[in-house]
Symmetry: C2
Subunit: 163 residues, 2 copies
Amino acid sequence: MERHKDKKKKEKENEADTSKWLLLDNQLCFRLYSASKALTSAYDPMLKPLDLTYPQYLAMMVLWEKDDISVGEIGERLNLDSGTLSPLLKKLEAKNILVRARSATDERMVTIKLTTKGHDLKKKVLKVPTQMICRIDLNEKEIADLSKRLDFLMSNLVKTAED
Amino acid sequence: MERHKDKKKKEKENEADTSKWLLLDNQLCFRLYSASKALTSAYDPMLKPLDLTYPQYLAMMVLWEKDDISVGEIGERLNLDSGTLSPLLKKLEAKNILVRARSATDERMVTIKLTTKGHDLKKKVLKVPTQMICRIDLNEKEIADLSKRLDFLMSNLVKTAED
DNA sequence: TGAAATTAAGTTGTGTACAATATGTTGGCG
DNA sequence: CGCCAACATATTGTACACAACTTAATTTCA
């Protein structure tokens, strides 16, 4: 595949070089897309007994770390906009896991507070990340390493988005 | 963070050890979820002039590699079921990019064939992967490396899903 | 051969995602 | 003070994703 790389041929290879990146198996992006879906569906059976979807679980993780914050703050943390979060948080409110209320000081904002049920849910969910780490079957160093690469990739995408 | 690891304390750390994995910033899965979304939204402006979404682009990549295949074969390649593919392929048919037709030999199957417009679209799309590689800003080795890790992760998830 | 199991695709219902827009609130600023 | 740009959230519309179910065709095998 990497033979015959003398300069005369290199230009001729350009077209082939370009279209080899169009092969699905060569696409990093497709792997990320697939891996992300696979992870979500791996979470689902663990979260189902807790009546949570994966995005709902993410929102809860934000709230377990710090309660009494605005919709916008959650969105900043998860990279989700109000179009996604508004209905999601309404569903969590319908399950009595949290309460939404207009802020008294700034009525543009909606403040999210966990209920007792919402706080208690954290105990039940503690085993989920551990189970997931087992299934991923990577050690702590490998996870950190992969995380670092993904962070680098993300920052490049964000950086070049400002054009 | 890694100090004080004598055996007496290790057991006491268990609970803290467990809940540290519940922190969003420690979650590999959240990074994958975010990276996947970021990549899709990076594709969108490139694909918009071609009137394709990212999942539609993936389906087209499969078809550019091998035409005249069934819905199921596309789904196997992309890990998508008929619930996702049926409407997606109908949209591509409405754009005159492909044609869907019941197979003559097995009428349960629907065979997908690219139209001339569908084949021609490949030329216009050739620059997309190259542009994306620039934005990702990883060299060929780093991409291969990251891909390998994601493949490993995926195979672990699939493997442990058979329980 | 013919009923039952299997298979392929489509449909329905729920839940994200996000662009674009709407609505109400707040903070300037002339 | 009053107007207006900026802001926070909600709503609408489009497009996945997938579980569960339906429909129709094929295969299996008693």
